[in-house]
């Protein structure tokens, strides 16, 4: 990524080698192994029903992509060892301030995708600085939840009651051990937070966001002779 801004670049504490963008594809960005965190899938694996697991398909409900409501996302520079409801709007959001350097940066790079920078907040007493990050053009962000998670006892048969009016296409694609996932929210940008200093253009997540453009080239059909 280009160092557009000396002021912001000086704040960064990332190692210099992080400047080379696409190593993201080899380091931080990786092919998702088959142990993708659909929890139930793993449980089934443990229950030794391996054949079913390997054959399993997880269907993404297409209508959920259209119906998903806008969602607000913050990427924090710390690991919170739990996944559960949290009063973000009560404690976190009202404490976000736009700092003076943020205004200077916005003036220096008008119209930039990361125009809204220099955000301040504190979390567990530590000072965080953040910036808005846009989802790359041609992509859309979604938050997705596997059906049957977090709603009481997990059922073994996920096809029951899920079939959609007997549509033939659906019947062909779905099988008894198939599972479903749906989008619950969609987003075009999120707030990226760094500890003490703003993440800046060298942040690894920016490198990762360049991946779709490289992937397009790697996987495009080659010209004929």
């Amino acid at each position: 990524m280009r160092l557009r801004d000396t002021a912001r670049a000086l704040q960064t504490t990332l190692p210099i080698r992080a400047c080379a963008v696409a190593p993201a594809s080899r380091h931080a960005l990786r092919a998702l192994p088959a142990s993708f965190g659909f929890c139930l899938e793993r449980r089934m694996m443990e229950s030794s029903d391996e054949t079913a697991v390997e054959r399993q398909r997880v269907h993404l409900r297409p209508d959920s992509l259209r119906d998903a409501a806008p969602v607000t996302l913050h990427l924090l520079p710390c690991e919170v060892l739990a996944s559960r409801p949290a009063p973000v709007e009560q404690f976190f959001t009202p404490a976000i301030r736009q700092g003076p350097d943020g205004e200077a940066l916005a003036a220096a790079a008008p119209g930039s995708l990361r125009a809204l920078t220099g955000l301040h907040v504190s979390f567990r007493g530590r000072s965080l600085r953040g910036e808005e990050v846009a989802v790359p053009p041609g992509l859309e962000g979604y938050v997705m939840v596997a059906e049957g998670e977090g709603d009481g006892p997990r059922r073994q048969d996920f096809s029951g009651g899920r079939k959609d009016g007997g549509a033939e296409e659906l019947e062909l694609l779905e099988r008894d051990f198939d599972r479903f996932i749906g989008a619950t929210g969609r987003f075009r940008r999120f707030t990226l937070w760094g500890l003490e200093t703003a993440p800046g253009p060298d942040a690894k997540v920016h490198g990762a966001l360049a991946w779709p453009r490289l992937a397009a080239a790697i996987h495009a059909q080659v010209p004929e002779d």
Binding site: M144, E169, G185, L214
Partner: protein
Amino acid sequence: MASDVDCGDPAGVRQHVFLLPDYFKDASKKMKSGLMFVKLINPCSGEGALYLFNMCLQQLFEIKVFKEKHHSWFINQSVQSGGLLHFATPMDPLFLLLHYLIKADKQGKFQPLDQVVVDDIFPNCILLLKLPELEKSLHHVTEEKEIDKKKYYKYSEEKTLKWLEKKVHQTVAALKANNVIVGARVQSALFSGDQASNDKEEDYVRYAHGLISDYIPKELSDGLSKHLKLPEPSAPLPNPPSKMTTQRQKRGK
């Protein structure tokens, strides 16, 4: 994967943050189903990996995940540990098919495609045969014969290397277009503020070769390296000097 941490949390619903092509939303108007995640082979490692089929558009997507230590999401009024960001990006199914073609080539004969793409461990590989573009692109990597209107294929390493060479060149073009720094002289280049002109063509080719090698078996990657006439890589760089001092010099223009 960080999934171990929170999976057992009774209060938590695991939320996955994804970036998908934005045209999925429009294509989805026509379908009730047809987007599905399946496990298929990773043609480089031979292990399982996650892919997404869009049966409506008849396209294959690869799922990659951005994962960095010490990150979590706030998603509306909830917290999701791990901070994972998943990408679904288009995948050339020929890379997957190549895995099966090379395996079948051990038998040394022409075979119909449905006998080539057979996998006890990843039975969903038969979905590949539903991609119409795939058969058209097979000539890049196989010799083919037609007998009684049925087509038979045999892996050709020579053709595959030519095909991969084209892949490398179009990847090089994308690396340049996206100003990706590929050279071994990243640091000195940054001092001059104009690294693009300092990166040698060979560095781009080597870098692109590395990216493509993530999709092909090791032996083929080595063959491609020879085909591209890439010299053996030179000694690895020493560690960069202390970061803050260097950055001050570099950026305090």
